[in-house]
Symmetry: D2
Subunit: 335 residues, 4 copies
């Protein structure tokens, strides 16, 4: 009981303000700890998996994500399908719109406007992007079972060739950051491909099991792994379970050594999304002495703050991060 709480003072740069929160308590202290852990991961050149759930792209987090990819503040992204669809949507020049959470939804339905809390989207514009997905699928090999990484790499590469401002998919293709999507059917990618299946008799078959094998391969190739979860859902669990699968490559994975989650869920509901990293310790998904923190905060506040603080802190001093040590190709499973 020797370390006093140091009342935060007003002002300073973003990084300084966050650092001062580190001397306080509750979620402010946790936010600061998140920045510390992230910075430590970068300094130690840990392979960083990020899980991304929630409607983060409609909520304006797309350029933060692009930054993370381009600056290599993460090494591998696992996302819901929705976020990757919304990214595609914006890359194709179709924005999301600022609306109100109190909108008249029956009226919105009449005007063919979708609502995502206080964000709106045009049904017609969404349909065009879905159509793009359907069309894109026809350019893929009907006889190949794709990992979702392959699918998004091909899609991102095509978008990158088109030029324009990078989004998540194109930036990741350029930077060779793999993207996985464990529930790809649960999104407009799914419904766009369902249209391909029914109306054109040709769709994309995904080898969702091979996704797991690749992820485990990345973890086995890494000296050390860390995780950052924005929300829970399938991305979080999909990354967590990797730590249990070293036996695929006859290795013992000791668990993630760094772990940050930003969540609005709580442990008492018993679900994986809100569970503590202590619980994860019982599974050996994280190591006994992992550096962990849960930041209970809406990611639209916490993510820009944390990334701005990390960027400010490591920006000048950090050497360019090493290239990732993993290589992924179709023959991965016989490596």
């Amino acid at each position: 009981m020797k370390k006093p709480v140091v009342p935060v003072t007003v002002g300073g740069t973003v990084s300084q303000l966050v650092r001062k929160m580190g001397g306080t308590a509750f979620q402010g202290r946790n936010l600061a700890r998140g920045v510390d852990i992230w910075s430590s991961m970068l300094e130690a050149d840990v392979t960083i998996f990020m899980g991304l759930a929630g409607a983060m792209i409609p909520a304006g987090m797309r350029q933060v994500m692009v930054y993370l990819i381009e600056k290599r503040l993460i090494d591998c992204l696992v996302s819901t399908g929705a976020n990757l669809f919304h990214d595609l949507h914006e890359t194709l020049g179709r924005p999301h719109y600022q609306g109100s959470a109190d909108a008249d939804d029956r009226q919105l339905a009449k005007s063919k406007t979708y609502r995502i809390y206080d964000v709106l989207a045009s049904e017609e514009e969404f349909d065009s992007t879905e159509q793009f997905v359907t069309d894109f699928s026809q350019r893929l090999d009907p006889d190949h079972a794709y990992t979702t990484r392959e699918f998004f790499f091909l899609l991102g590469s095509e978008l990158a060739r088109e030029g324009g401002e990078d989004g998540i998919l194109s930036a990741a293709a350029r930077a060779n950051v793999p993207i996985y999507c464990p529930a790809i059917g649960d999104s407009v990618y799914g419904t766009g491909l369902a249209t391909a299946l029914v109306k054109r008799g040709r769709h994309v078959v995904f080898d969702v099991i091979a996704d797991i094998v690749e992820m485990v391969h990345i973890a086995c190739a890494a000296g050390s792994t860390g995780v950052i979860y924005i929300g829970g859902g399938t991305p979080k669990n999909f990354i967590q379970q990797v730590a249990l699968c070293g036996h695929l490559f006859d290795k013992v994975l000791k668990g993630h050594e760094y772990a940050i989650q930003v969540t609005t869920d709580s442990p008492q509901w018993g679900g994986l999304s809100g569970c503590t990293f202590d619980e994860a310790r019982s599974w050996r998904k994280v190591t006994p002495d992992a550096a962990t923190v849960t930041v209970h905060c809406d990611a639209t506040i916490a993510l820009p703050l944390m990334v701005s603080a990390v960027a400010e802190r490591v920006g000048k001093t950090l050497p360019e991060r090493k290239k990732p040590s993993f290589r992924l190709d179709r023959d991965l499973t016989v490596l």
Copy 2:
């Protein structure tokens, strides 16, 4: 402002007590409304999709789910992989255990015990069930891309043949209630099959897009659809998106006409799991005048209560529910 709040009095049967909550307010009133809507669905013979997320089987909800399937209080189940794995686990005679949320997780890790909030599981026993999944996969056709429904029907049928007390999978196979799992890779099914892929060179390829087509087919074949969501996650969205896909079969789906969700999430975080059914109206996922309710309550309280109340209410008066009007087979997509 003509209808007074009627203070709830102590006592009565479960159904009576819940009905009395209907005269009160806040989530008690919503719980009662959930029972009303569910009962209405049964009386109107609506096709009912249930989404099941959260660790509901470790939390003791397995027999409630079996009841729902056997009594046909639901027609189609969409679940996380975890719940279906935990069901398999218990069907194979391996229990979950009562523990404490305050357990020493480092100690649990040493004793190879997994914790799920206040529930424990044996790592060894989990491994045995995972092994069962790996082995089961070797009995499937390596040249067929399975829908998750096919996979779980085959697995459930095998379990049903073994006899013993029914679980979700076996009961559903017997009752011909289809089960979908949009993120099957995100569970021990996924890791068990990854082992099959790496160690035995033969796994299961899932056609996750065909899942969508089947679900839309079911909705198109129904006169009217209703939804019940226990938690959010992929099951909720996977069922919601069906309402937008009538065009696959050249139909206009008007949206789900009944909708219940039991959730511990909140709308202000902007995610699909916690969003209101009003938001769903803007998408026409539910009809403008759908009967909807969100019950903000842990499902371990709300689900046994609601099902017991529904059972008590409709038990004696309801004629046996009609057989489902949909037929699912491998040729579905050419129907």
Copy 3:
């Protein structure tokens, strides 16, 4: 890890269903534990303090509270002013009304209708009850500093003399269950008395410190104390702090030995309302080995359930509870 989770089955009486939840997990198990602890308190004849926060009377919990008082399932009530005002309001024959959480509030304002989530109240009717408070105050002694217990005892006695169906105040006056209100100014009692002060030059002075002394006296006179918190707020803390004040009467209070809270708050925000009973142990507000449980659930569901289950369980077997061992009068402080 010897005790398996026992899946809950559908049906049974309220008490049986809750007991079955006790074999499950998460908040269902906690709810069952709450009933167990409450029953234990009754069997051990513990002095039970209940804290009541939240708009529980508009939400239809008034008759449950009356039942608790009449059947002596609690011994002392600490409440927000609002609940006690709403009780008075209903005792005077003015109901709360069922409304909708989605109402048009600007329109409600125009029609002089107050909204409390999905409950409505008439501004005019509220004004009449406020007027009653103002008038009542003129019948009190302007030269006496009242404890809030005295005030509510006098008010409840007057209401009891009027006859009619009992509410909280009249039932408590009859049953000699003391009621405390640590923030009485923060309610229509406060504003009604402010009117008395400004417009009639004569109001009521409360000795809010003497309230504390009385509460500590009750705790010191009890062999053992237990607490039940419906929500947090001032009632919870006001009861908790009693355990730290034995020195007032030169006693060592060891802390509450039984503790139940029903809350929708969470520990991670750092406030007293959502904090754990473990945290309370560090303060010795509860004993090291106290029987404690937090039920994370809306009280409009949990309270009728728990009380119905307790009533069913102890109803037939329990001898009439002993009279409380404390005596309160104006000379308390010189006892």
Copy 4:
């Protein structure tokens, strides 16, 4: 649907980053709106009431509060007793300490250490501060019924005379910012005064009703009022109810015209702490067209951010804020 979401980019000053959040969604957008509304209040010279609940001082928010008072970013403070006690504690040179939410509470109890989530306090040091309160009370007039404002003004003045770094109480006394505490008995002020009552036969009688009258007087004297709520509890309601009491001074108060709340509560539980400002509109506590926002975020993150952004934004351009237009003395009620 004309205004696109503008993805936030990494970096900038605190104010710039928050402003960029304003182009996004969910709570990030709300946080930015909170800064906008606060800035508008300052520019329009509105009388600003702040409500402060939660353990904000142990959580390191004391210097932010001092800043708000000294720079006159608020005009009147309503607080829980705990925050004002913790402020006194630190002013007397006794810190709170950084701890862990996972501490062993039984061990803490043995070492006489109190825990407030992840903050610790020494029981002995708390006792010393409580003793200070008891002693201070003996220097007050036993025949006067004090408003809590008077009490804290006298206490703050004494502290200010002692010199040293200012805390909330001393800064407010210097700056003539009134402080109210509607539940003063519910804190160590209460227990310290209870000791005075029992052990020294002389305590402090508070006129908690006069507090209301003064608050209404301030509102009536203001051209326009705004509110900022950090948490809910009694401070929020105590300020809200002022808007309904213009009749005390034969005025019609139209309601607060600006309203910000930072909360971790949610509307669906029906309580006043989590209710929307729309609900407040039905009561005319806020005007129909008030500028309002609820920021769902832990205040340990939101408050330093918002205040730093406000300070940065208005710091250079704003003329010194006018002195408050109200005057408070013992004869207030006959003004």
